[in-house]
Amino acid sequence: MSTAGGAVVVDYEELRRMSRVWRETAESLAKQALSVASIATERCIFTNAIFDPAGAARVETSILAASAIPHGLAALATRIAADGLALEGVVLKEQLVDDFPARQLWSLEAAMSTATVRFAFAPGQTLHDLESRGAGFAGAMVGYLSPFTEPLLEAFAPSASFKVDAALHRPVVVDPILGAPLALVSRVAPERSGYVSVSKYRPLWGGTASGSIGGVMHRISALEGFPEASLAVEAVTSADGVVRYVVELPGIRHLGAAADPQDLSGAVNAMEARTTAYTRCVSEALDAAGAPEGAQVMLVGHSQGGIVAMDLAGDPAFNGGRVRVTDVLAAGSPISAKHVVAGSGTAVFSVENVADVVTHLDGVDSASAPEAGARLTYQFAEDQQGIGANHSATLYANKLDALADSPNPLVRDFTAQVAPYLTGRTTTTVYTISDAVPR
């Protein structure tokens, strides 16, 4: 939930993380209370009590007072646990009330209540109206239930093999209904060689540095609006004179099969395999942009683009071979189960809207993985009550803009690290990408 002007900003996921810290702290304090209370039973106090019985009694009293209720460690643990529970309860209640797609439900209910009468006069229009309102409600419900995708799949997926993977937090390798291996997709729709050519479209921001992590995501949002499947390479010469490369990777644009890598089969294959037509297009684009061997590269991707970025960062022939991927910024990408090349030092910053169902498609909940400087997953909850709206690159770009002034030290570290990619003299080239050389 947030309001314009910044008066009220609530990041539910952040509050949930806080309540976890509170719970762990309360547990730690309760353990300390027990340890301190056990000090009062130490033998040396009793054996020495014969020399100063009053002093021993004072020691016992003071130790027990420090460990027990009403003012000691145990009492403090109880109060902090209560704070954590209250915070968790408020967050759950607010989110359930705040995000419930009531408007879409009322709209559907209103249409249904008058449908019988309207159907007599305009049957086609009535059915179409019901269909569109039903679709609106269904889309909003997907966003509403997305934060609970993993437990829901674990409980209700028909495929036993899928359920086992979900229960063990393993990456999804079979479909949730029939349990058919996802690798079959690459057999049905095999990945081709990939082909890039310089696009005839020139973005307005071409030749200028993006300035921020939000700025670079806004560029991907713009690329997704181009008439052709595209990616962009920006060569940035920063103050230290080094030329670094930012590769901007848009997400899926066709929910079926198409002649370019940004289609459904391309996305499924990117989740399954490390090398796809899209990854080959990135290598070709860097060759065409004149990036030398071992050049420093930052990969930025939205949705499928983020998966492709992680595939490249995890490929030793690319990361540490062709170039050195220093940073990956992924937004709305199911990459929890993907890893960079061991020892490469590649930093990964993944931003996930928990109301975005796409981020849950790998069946692995990022929250179960520990946060660290080299791999930071920033989760937030913003339910726009629509599958597309919850997943849009613009929503992620706006969130990254809001994070620019974040006091979170891990976010600040990442922002500082990628600064040389975001300011300096810039050359931008947009490439049109396709599965193979056009005939």
Partner: protein
């Protein structure tokens, strides 16, 4: 842990750890992206909890101080008893030697 000095040191270490926990809670609440009246109220509550952590740390330190004081009293009492024992032994020896001369 067998000696009283060790117990006192343990209690002081716990006091420092509780103070750090209070500081950590304030830090976590401060860096959270959360601005509203409720957020301000929660942060004020966290400040109170930090102060309570400080109070508990003081209680642990005063328990440590009570243990040290007890240890000093025990040592003094042992020393006094040792002196009485020595004096008694000395008196017995003197008595035996006097009786021998007689």
């Amino acid at each position: 842990m067998s000696d009283l000095g060790g117990l006192a040191a343990e209690l002081e270490q716990r006091a420092t750890s509780v103070e750090l926990i209070g500081d950590q809670l304030v830090h976590v609440a401060a860096i959270a992206i959360w601005s509203s009246v409720a957020a301000d109220a929660f942060r004020a509550q966290v400040d109170r909890r930090r102060s309570e952590c400080g109070d508990v740390a003081s209680m642990l330190r005063s328990a440590a101080s009570a243990v040290r004081h007890f240890a000093a009293e025990v040592e003094a009492e042992k020393e006094r008893l040792r002196r009485i024992e020595e004096a008694a032994l000395h008196g017995v020896e003197k008595f035996v030697s006097l009786a021998g001369r007689l």
